[in-house]
Subunit: 222 residues, 2 copies
């Protein structure tokens, strides 16, 4: 039986992008089911009753939610381009960094926009980003994964591309080349990767007031 | 070569407990290295420079941090009692729930104490706990893992034991048997498991003012 792979998605989402990138790295055929977040389909609500969010991957009828959980699933099921290392120790190191980016760095960045660029909140985000900067420096490779991208690069793709759009739209620029040369270099390398370039959404910069309102509502109190 | 397994730990921590439980389920011999969080050892800071926190597992010289990452590592390396299912789909479901408990439920609970039991914050935590309650009801088994505990039960162990101590100490009781009969039943089953019982720290209830101060400082603004 041919695999049936459907991805419930919205255009432009960095979390959907993680899953699409993994699918494309593996060379998997899939069908996109576009969702309207203002009017979610009953399929989406059935498949992801807990989060009610995209992305959801449905593989031969089985739904999987949470972008990084989906990426690990894809790596478990389809061989070919390895997204996590085989060695258990190396794998744990990759999971540690992916979790750090997911649970600490990205929320710290969201809070910057949620606070309309409050100095203290920017300082806290920069402190977390500095840890990534140092890791890239120590590693001295093109990607977190070395010569090829891995789960950490996939987890961090928001930082490579979406962050710049948010900085431009909100006029809150804090991840500069001067301050974070290694992150900037990594981001440049990442968005040049053929499969990444092909999948990145167009650069669309929403109006400042709209961006700040959205982030304030979701991350302004935290 | 015999495995050398060291666990950097502090007594009473629910996050250290997760790792100890996994080690004991697998029957692994390990040495506890007790840390003083007010005066962290240089070993701990070297092994976990990003988080500077316990638990850290050091296996044959290789340090691993983040309790659930460590538990997955233990399951990868040592066979015997399976903590995650082998099947990739079942594994992704288990990871989804463990992540939900780790990243959504437990922070929501911490915020209750951080807000000194603010009504709205309690309502938000209960909304998340209701999702777990429903999942246990639908599943209809003794544990999240079915007849045996798995990664989800391990992730949720804070809810089974530590939460009650915090409720008692702070006099903020919101996870009642009436409201959450399935969670209560699960918690009773969980703390009765022989290996769990053996590892649980003594019930120590710090004074209310001290508890509230600690949580307010760490979770009061979020």
């Amino acid at each position: 039986m041919a695999d049936e792979v459907k991805l419930y998605a919205v255009g432009g989402s960095p979390f959907v992008f993680r899953v699409e990138l993994a699918l494309n790295l593996k060379g998997i055929n899939y069908k996109i089911v576009e969702e309207d977040l203002k009017n979610k389909s009953s399929d989406l609500l059935n498949y992801n009753p807990v989060r009610k969010e995209v992305p959801v991957l449905v593989h031969n009828g089985n739904p999987i939610s949470e972008s990084l959980v989906i990426v690990e699933y894809i790596d478990d099921v389809w061989k070919g381009f390895p997204i996590l290392p085989q060695d258990p120790y190396e794998k744990s190191v990759v999971r540690f960094w992916a979790k750090f980016i997911e649970s600490t760095c990205i929320p710290a960045i969201f809070k910057v926009f949620g606070s309309n660029g409050a100095e203290q909140v920017i300082a806290e985000a920069c402190e977390q980003l500095q840890i990534i900067e140092d890791e890239l420096r120590v590693k001295g490779k093109k990607f977190f994964g070395g010569d090829n991208i891995n789960l950490i690069d996939i987890a961090a793709s928001f930082i490579a591309y979406w962050l710049g759009m948010l900085e431009e739209g909100t006029e809150i620029k804090f991840v500069t080349k001067d301050k974070f040369p290694k992150i900037t270099e990594w981001a440049d390398n990442f968005i040049k990767v053929e499969v990444v370039k092909k999948l990145l959404p167009p650069r669309i910069i929403p109006p400042k007031a709209q961006l700040l309102a959205v982030f304030k509502q979701r991350f302004g109190n935290s």
